[in-house]
Subunit: 331 residues, 2 copies
């Protein structure tokens, strides 16, 4: 039985970095495994947005709109809202007893995020504990395949450590170990050339962006700062336009010829940017169109999420019941 | 509306240190406030007993037997089991976002326990977080009076910090601040003279100890190591027998005379120990007798605890619903 769990933190609309990095893979694999759960991680999003819950709430529906717009299907995936499965909080509480503070603080993903956010020991305890909360999410559904990027591998390892500690100590295969399902796609840089595309860096193209917005963003895109006149030799390495063409343009040989031309000199930024605009718009306009349709029935999406959450809750409750038995909490 | 919350970790039977320090007060105040909740904190006990849940489970009933034996009444108190109120786990998860790691690590009670248990950064995350879990316990029931010893004051402060952060930020009196109800009774030392009476130090007299057991323990009790012959002058200061007589013997003037006689010389340890045996047995024999009766109906106690937990759960769920509204989680 192969069970997939994926999800996103509802802290903003999804962008094309998410799309290339994970969403496209989700669409391509949907229906190929026994079960698939897609979680909108509102509880986790609150761990570093506790003072701004309205933002999280608004984005739950935005993320769901993005999901359905790109072609994820409710008949092939269980969509659910994390806070509507309170069993996940209980599991997290119990798992917290099987992880020590030193181990948690040395988690490379947590360390990187602590550094990025400048937290030090001001880190909210809930945020520090999110690898444990993720272990709860994964194991609750007995998910064994987790589509992730390289940077999330320490999360998989943390989950499996908890699984092994509990299974070994109680000498019973209660929880299931999981494996990463690596997408193999490299990370898309931001339009400013920075390594990460993110809302907070204000360098993202969103799945819901209009054609006008795409034009504006692509036109401002980072290319080669030394490529000033058309006849200048240009650098393809680190040039965001070519990075995006590599990710979205299906006519690989044409892109190859453009790269050579650009390096030799004689190809202007405007030309490659115009091509990128068309390529992006071709990919995003059907998504945008579906989104417009779906936006008319937000209530329906919420009902879909509630139904999914109810289903997810039943499964998580079964896992919790099994665990409570070995924890001698089966009153 | 005055609401009391107290409780114990079910890691062993209760001893006369608990009795003098808090249980007697609970009996004397029962019925004097609007509501009283008494929690058997199995979830909290697991935070440093995760690999030994059977011990925790067994002691849930032992602690309940102790409660009813000393005269706590189910018609005046709601007895409940912490793990049967899963809303407390949810509240803990949300509160974890309002406390940072530095603040938690500097909690004097946590620091003292970390040192005592020699944890350092090997501390289980669940144990580190127990002040947050206690804040959830207290606020879930809107308890405003918490019977505690001095050493637990930092817990009250941590709870009130969370309450104020949430109430202030959301500009609404959702949660209630609490105050300590200090017992004023000094801590009873162990029979070996060490400051703390505890199961792990093997220096406790239990509420359920037989007369024979009490005789044996009192006879081995630490007095004055320099008081060798009856005619020797003896030291009352630090003498465990006198500490216990102070705590249990109601004939204060007679105890005063014994102290003077002991200091002057001519009063043997055997004499004061025999008196202490009678005083203790007088206090403990009715408790022991009631316990024997109650032990015949353990199933009934479990039903009582389940009923109490159901009641507690309804109240905690109301608080959680109010909080979820301000956290924009009211789907």
């Amino acid at each position: 039985m192969d069970i997939i769990l994926t999800g996103d933190r509802p802290t903003g609309k999804l962008h094309i970095g998410h799309y290339v990095g994970s969403l496209k893979t989700r669409v391509s694999i949907q229906g190929k495994y026994d079960k698939s759960f897609i979680m909108i991680a509102d509880t986790q999003a609150l761990s570093d947005n506790a003072l701004n819950p309205g933002k999280v709430r608004d984005n739950v529906i935005e993320v769901m709109l993005d999901y359905l717009s790109i072609g994820l299907k409710p008949e092939l995936n269980t969509f659910f809202i994390q806070s509507l499965v309170p069993e996940l909080a209980e599991l997290t509480m119990y798992y917290m007893n099987f992880v020590n503070l030193g181990r948690l603080s040395r988690n490379p993903t947590v360390k990187a995020e602590m550094k990025q956010k400048g937290y030090n020991d001001k880190i909210p305890v809930g945020f520090l504990c999110y690898p444990i909360s993720q272990a709860a999410d994964i194991t609750a559904f007995k998910a064994n395949l987790i589509p992730v990027g390289d940077d999330q591998l320490p999360m998989i390892e943390q989950t499996n450590e908890i699984v092994r500690r509990i299974n070994n100590h109680f000498n019973k295969d209660i929880l299931k170990e999981c494996k990463p399902l690596l997408s193999g796609v490299q990370r898309l840089p931001g339009i400013d050339g920075r390594a990460k595309m993110s809302k907070s860096l204000n360098n993202a193209i969103y799945l819901s962006d209009s054609r006008e917005c795409i034009i504006k963003k692509v036109m401002s895109m980072y290319t080669d700062p030394n490529h000033i006149r058309v006849e200048d030799k240009g650098n393809v390495e680190g040039n965001v336009v070519f990075k995006y063409l590599d990710a979205f343009d299906t006519r690989k040989d044409e892109v190859e010829k453009l790269k050579q031309h650009y390096e030799k000199g004689g190809l202007g930024d405007i030309t490659i940017k115009k091509r990128l605009i068309e390529v992006l718009d071709e990919e995003l306009s059907p998504i945008r169109l579906r989104r417009k349709q779906l936006e008319k029935n937000k209530e329906e999406l919420l009902i879909m999420l509630k139904t999914g959450s109810e289903h997810a809750r039943n499964i998580a409750a079964d896992t919790l019941t099994e665990l409570k038995k070995v924890f001698c909490l089966d009153y």
